[in-house]
C-alpha cells in the first residue's frame, strides 16, 4: 500500500503537458532548456528513483530463500583470493621515505577514495547547455582586426629613484590601497566563469555559553541540507559578553560542497527554498568580496524551510536550528561576472548592483 502512494503522484504528475510560459527575462536572465522543449523525457531519470522509502522495504520470500552464499562459493571451481592476499592500503601515512606508501586518493583501493559522481544534476545540465553559452555571448567584446589594446600601466609601481634608499626595494602596491585585485582577463571559451564550490558556514555563539548541543544540532542541520559531513572550528576572537575564549570554545560549523553535491544543493536552493522565503528581496547587490565570491545569509526560520529539515522537523529542537552563511565561490575574477553567472542560474539580486 505504501508503495502505491508515490506511483499515484507520479501518474498524476508525469503526463501533464508542459505549457511554455511567456516570461519576460527583464529582472532575472534565467533560462532553462526545458522552457523550450515541447515534451520532456523523464523516463530514463525515473529508473533510479526509489519508489518507496527504504525504511519500509520488505524482502521477497523467493529472494531470501535463494540467498545462500556458502553453497554458491562451493560451486565455484577456483576460490576467490582471501582478503589478506588482496592489496589493502596502509592505515597510516608514515612519511615520504617510508617503503610502504599509500596509493593515490584517486585509486579505489585507497582509504581516502571517494566514489562518484553518481548523477548529472539538473543545475549542472542547465549550466552546460544554456548558461555557459549565454555568458559567452553576453561577455563578447568585438575587436576589429589589427586592433591593439592600449598598454596598461604595471600593477606594481616602481619607486622613483629620488632617494638612495629606494635601491633594491620591492615594488610598490597599486594606487589607492594595498590590495592587488585579481587580473580580469577577457572572457573566452576557455575561461567562462562557473561555480567552483559552495561553503555553508554557521556560527553558533550559544555553543560557548550553553552546552555543546547547539553545535550538534547545527552540524546535523547543515549536514542534512548539504549531504556533506561538517567540520567544526574553534573561536579565534575573544568576546567577553559571550564568554568566548580563543582556542577553547568550539563555535562554528562548516561544510564545503564541491562537484555533484554542490549542484544538487544549488538546484534545491534556487528552485525550492529561496522562493519560499517570506518577504525575501533577493541577494543584496553589493555583496561579494570583489573577486567573484558572493555571500548571503539565511535566518534560522528560513533554514527550516529546506525540505530535508522540514521532513523531520520534530527531530530538531526548534530553538536550536541555526542560521547559516552561504558563500558561492565562482571562478569569475570580478563580482560583475559572478553576479551575471548567478543571476543566470536563478539567484535574484536587489538594490544597487555594485560592480
Amino acid at each position: 500500500m505504501a508503495a502505491r502512494e508515490p506511483s499515484r503522484y507520479l501518474a498524476r504528475g508525469l503526463p501533464r503537458t508542459f505549457v511554455p510560459s511567456a516570461r519576460s527575462q527583464a529582472f532575472l536572465n534565467r533560462r532553462n532548456v526545458s522552457d523550450e522543449a515541447p515534451a520532456r523525457r523523464l523516463s530514463d531519470q525515473l529508473e533510479d528513483l526509489e519508489t518507496a522509502s527504504s525504511l519500509t522495504t520488505s524482502v521477497s520470500e523467493s529472494a531470501a530463500s535463494s540467498f545462500d552464499p556458502i553453497a554458491r562459493s562451493k560451486t565455484r571451481k577456483t576460490q576467490l583470493p582471501r582478503g589478506r592476499y588482496q592489496f589493502r592500503s596502509p592505515k597510516y601515512d608514515r612519511g615520504p621515505l617510508h617503503p610502504h606508501q599509500p596509493p593515490a586518493p584517486s585509486d579505489p583501493s585507497s582509504r581516502l577514495f571517494v566514489p562518484g559522481p553518481f548523477a548529472l544534476p539538473r543545475a549542472e545540465q542547465t549550466y552546460n547547455s544554456t548558461v555557459a553559452s549565454d555568458i559567452l555571448t553576453l561577455c563578447y567584446v568585438h575587436t576589429p582586426p589589427g586592433f591593439k589594446p592600449p598598454p596598461k600601466a604595471p600593477r606594481l609601481r616602481e619607486w622613483d629613484d629620488s632617494s638612495p634608499y629606494h635601491k633594491n626595494r620591492p615594488l610598490r602596491g597599486p594606487r589607492g590601497g594595498d590590495v592587488l585585485r585579481l587580473l580580469r582577463k577577457p572572457i573566452k571559451f576557455n575561461n567562462i566563469p562557473k561555480i567552483e564550490r559552495i561553503t555553508l558556514h554557521s556560527y553558533v555563539k550559544e555553543a560557548a555559553q550553553d552546552n555543546s548541543g547547539w553545535l550538534h544540532v547545527a552540524g546535523i542541520a547543515v549536514q542534512a541540507i548539504s549531504n556533506v559531513r561538517v567540520e567544526t572550528f574553534k573561536s579565534k576572537a575573544s568576546v567577553a559578553n559571550w564568554s568566548l575564549v580563543p582556542g577553547r570554545d568550539t563555535v562554528a560549523v562548516k561544510a564545503e560542497l564541491q562537484g555533484e553535491n554542490m549542484y544538487h544543493f544549488l538546484g534545491k536552493l534556487i528552485d525550492v527554498v529561496l522562493p519560499r522565503l517570506k518577504d525575501w528581496p533577493g541577494v543584496k547587490g553589493s555583496s561579494g568580496d570583489s573577486s567573484g565570491n558572493i555571500t548571503f545569509g539565511l535566518e534560522p526560520e528560513q533554514m527550516a524551510l529546506f525540505p530535508e529539515i522540514e521532513v523531520n522537523y520534530d527531530m530538531y529542537p526548534p530553538k536550536m536550528i541555526p542560521g547559516c552563511h552561504i558563500t558561492l565561490h565562482t571562478t569569475a575574477k570580478a563580482d560583475k561576472d559572478a553576479r551575471l553567472l548567478l543571476s543566470a542560474m536563478g539567484i535574484p539580486f536587489y538594490g544597487k548592483i555594485v560592480q
Partner: protein
C-alpha cells in the same frame, strides 16, 4: 642508501597497481609526486581517515507547474511536491499578472462589501475589473476605427464609380491623418 629505498618503494607500489583499475604508469607518477613533497621534520605517522559520507536518496522534486526533476538528498521521502517555487513566485516571474493579483475574490463578497461600505479610496472597482473595462474600451475603439476606415474606402470607391455621373459628389469625409 637512497638508491636502495627508491628500489624498495617501487617494489611496494607494484602490488597496488595490479589490484587497481588505473594503469601502472599513472600510479608511479603519483608516487613520484608524493615523494617530491618535502616533509619538514614530522616523524609521526598520520592516520588516513576514511571520508564520511552521509547516505543520500534519490528524490523526485515536482514543481508547482508539474515539471519535475530528480536530485540526491538526505531526506528519505521519494517524491517532494512543492507548493511555492520559482514557477509561481513573484520574484522569479515579475511580470506575471496572475501572481501580482493578491486578492482572491471569487464569490464577489469583497466587491459587495466595498460597494456597500466603501469609502473614497476603496469605493472604486478593483484593479482586475478596471483592466477588463479598459480592454473593452480599447476593443471598441479599434472596432470603430476599422469601421471608419471601411466607410472611407467605400466612399472612395463610390467616388471612382460615380465619377462624371453625378454633378455634385457627396462631401468628402474628414480624414483622420
Amino acid at each position: 642508501m637512497s638508491m636502495h629505498t627508491t628500489l624498495r618503494r617501487t617494489a611496494a607500489t607494484l602490488p597496488s597497481s595490479t589490484s587497481s583499475i588505473l594503469p601502472s604508469s599513472q600510479i608511479i607518477t603519483a608516487q613520484s609526486k608524493s615523494t617530491s613533497f618535502v616533509c619538514s621534520q614530522c616523524r609521526h605517522a598520520t592516520l588516513l581517515r576514511r571520508p564520511k559520507r552521509p547516505y543520500t536518496f534519490t528524490q523526485l522534486v515536482t514543481l508547482s507547474d508539474g515539471s519535475s526533476f530528480t536530485h540526491r538528498t538526505s531526506s528519505p521521502t521519494p517524491v517532494y511536491r512543492s507548493t511555492r517555487d520559482t514557477r509561481n513566485s513573484l520574484l522569479w516571474n515579475p511580470t506575471s499578472s496572475k501572481l501580482m493579483n493578491v486578492e482572491d475574490d471569487e464569490a464577489g463578497r469583497l466587491a459587495a462589501f466595498r460597494a456597500r461600505f466603501g469609502r473614497s479610496f476603496d469605493a472604486n472597482a478593483p484593479a482586475a475589473e478596471e483592466d477588463a473595462t479598459a480592454k473593452k474600451e480599447k476593443e471598441e475603439e479599434i472596432k470603430a476605427q476599422q469601421a471608419a476606415e471601411q466607410q472611407e474606402e467605400d466612399n472612395l470607391l463610390d467616388l471612382i464609380s460615380s465619377f462624371g455621373q453625378q454633378e455634385a459628389p457627396p462631401p468628402e469625409k474628414k480624414k483622420k491623418w
